[in-house]
């Protein structure tokens, strides 16, 4: 059974006890993302202070992969600069789209390395990226609003 490789303890922990969940005010921009093949959805808000991501709050419904990866996202980006956050986002995206061939960097991705197994299941990659897409979109909107 390869399920243990896919569903690492870290993933199941984040799924059962998600970090930063709930929609909070104030925020600079909100993004709603949906996975059309399964109906999973997430609404995510970001609050920036200059170049710093000061809060990420979210609500949604979805599988353990999508919920846990959004929870991990908040750990990885809140308190960091937008530049750093986007670097992490790129690293996570690369890992997910790497078909299991990409070696994750634990220094960058921390708990995110637990998702390495997802990359072998193409139908689940979108789940893992759902919250991250929402984050990217929300930041772009926030910066657009500020400009």
């Amino acid at each position: 059974m390869q399920m243990e490789q896919l569903y690492q303890e870290i993933i199941l922990d984040h799924y059962k006890n998600p970090h930063g969940r709930g929609l909070r005010d104030p925020f600079d921009a909100e993004s709603f993302q949906v996975n059309p093949t399964c109906g999973d959805e997430v609404t995510l808000r970001v609050k920036l202070d200059g170049e710093t991501v000061t809060d990420v709050s979210y609500e949604g419904q979805g599988c353990s992969i999508s919920q846990a990866s959004t929870s991990v996202l908040t750990d990885l980006v809140v308190g960091r600069s937008v530049g750093e956050a986007f670097k992490t986002l790129d690293a996570f995206t690369e890992l997910m789209q790497g078909k299991g061939q990409v070696e994750p960097d634990e220094d960058v991705l921390e708990d995110g390395v637990a998702f390495a197994g997802v990359a072998k299941y193409p139908a689940r990659v979108k789940c893992a990226l759902l919250g991250w897409m929402a984050f990217k979109d929300a930041v772009v909107r926030a910066e657009g609003n500020a400009a």
């Binding site: 390869q2 569903y7 789940c127």
Partner: protein
Amino acid sequence: MSSADGLDVAALRKDFPILQRTVRDGKPLHYIDSGATSQRPRQVLDAEREFLETSNAAVHRGAHQLAEEATDAYEGARQKIADFVGAAADELVFVKNATEGINLVAYAMSNASVAGPESERFRLGPGDEIVVTEMEHHANLVPWQQLALRTGATLKWFGVTDDGRLDLSAVDELITAKTRIVAFTHQSNVLGTVTPVATLAAKARAAGALTVLDACQSVPHQKVDFRALGVDFAVFSGHKMLGPSGVGVLYGRRALLEAMPPFLTGGSMIEMVQMASSTFAPPPQRFEAGVPMTSQAVGLGAAVDYLSVVGMDRINAHEHLLTEAALRGLAEIPGVTIVGPADMKDRGGAVSFVIDGVHPHDAGQVLDDLGVAVRVGHHCAWPLHRRLGIPASIRASFYLYNDLDDVTALLDGVRETKRFFGVS
């Protein structure tokens, strides 16, 4: 060994090469996803190949021997399929899938506004109403939304009851003199629910509305006779009934097809072409623009032969048996809720369910790891899932090549899923 209903499934399964394969590190494949697409017996694969190795040519266009043979094979398949669903050959249009068939009718109706007076009855505008149901597959919903958008007509719909039946209580408010089209499914691809087609068709006819039946999940699984049902149009897809992908069928009553304006235009569907304007061939050619899916039509003809030899009544009885076993077994597992009718009344072989505390996607993953191929998600029936208050579901859908082993594997898989995710 033949099952209780007289179907020798073990023998049948030998006809399906893909069922011999293993998945996920050598596990036998339990393919319980025929509602999405069915597998093909070698008889269908062989028929298509034989056609391609002996008679392949552009149909209805050439005068040489290959073109004659190809045209014969193509039209022979049409006749065979027409016999299978209680229609005349010239009432069947080959399309690429059921989705195209529904779009064809919807676009022909908006095209009627720029066509001649013979297509008057297809014209739609503000004040006119299109009625669908809340249990439709997106294929029988979105095209009507778009038709409403193009013409200014209004979209209305039948609701669904908590136990997954069509809510007919408002039928007389819904189907009125304003109604121009009533489009509905014969069998829900999620709930398994079989709808009262003849009743709805009679109501629509009395109101002067046209009926469009989505027969995607009925034609593969039971004997269907479109004339006897009294519908005006119906669609189904080849790939869900042991036939090739890339071919589907639109049925239309002859008088309607004769009056209906074309949809796709181009070669083979014309009568006369001049630079500034054209006139069109009679049906079914009028609706088959371009070089058609020739070998696929031949393959679908072979699929219909295969189904007929096995016998639709026996197939239906066999699926009944499997569905009943699955419903019974699932009901015994704590935390499992059936989505749709829990009994066997007016019900086909799609069994959808949810597991408390486990998202369907996660359940599907564990089942897949055990070799059990089911579908998870909203199964292209998102509004239905919203109505039932669930984001997604797990669907098992049976066909003639499934057996009680597949049911057992499903039930074991559900238990293992619960164990894996620690829910009880």
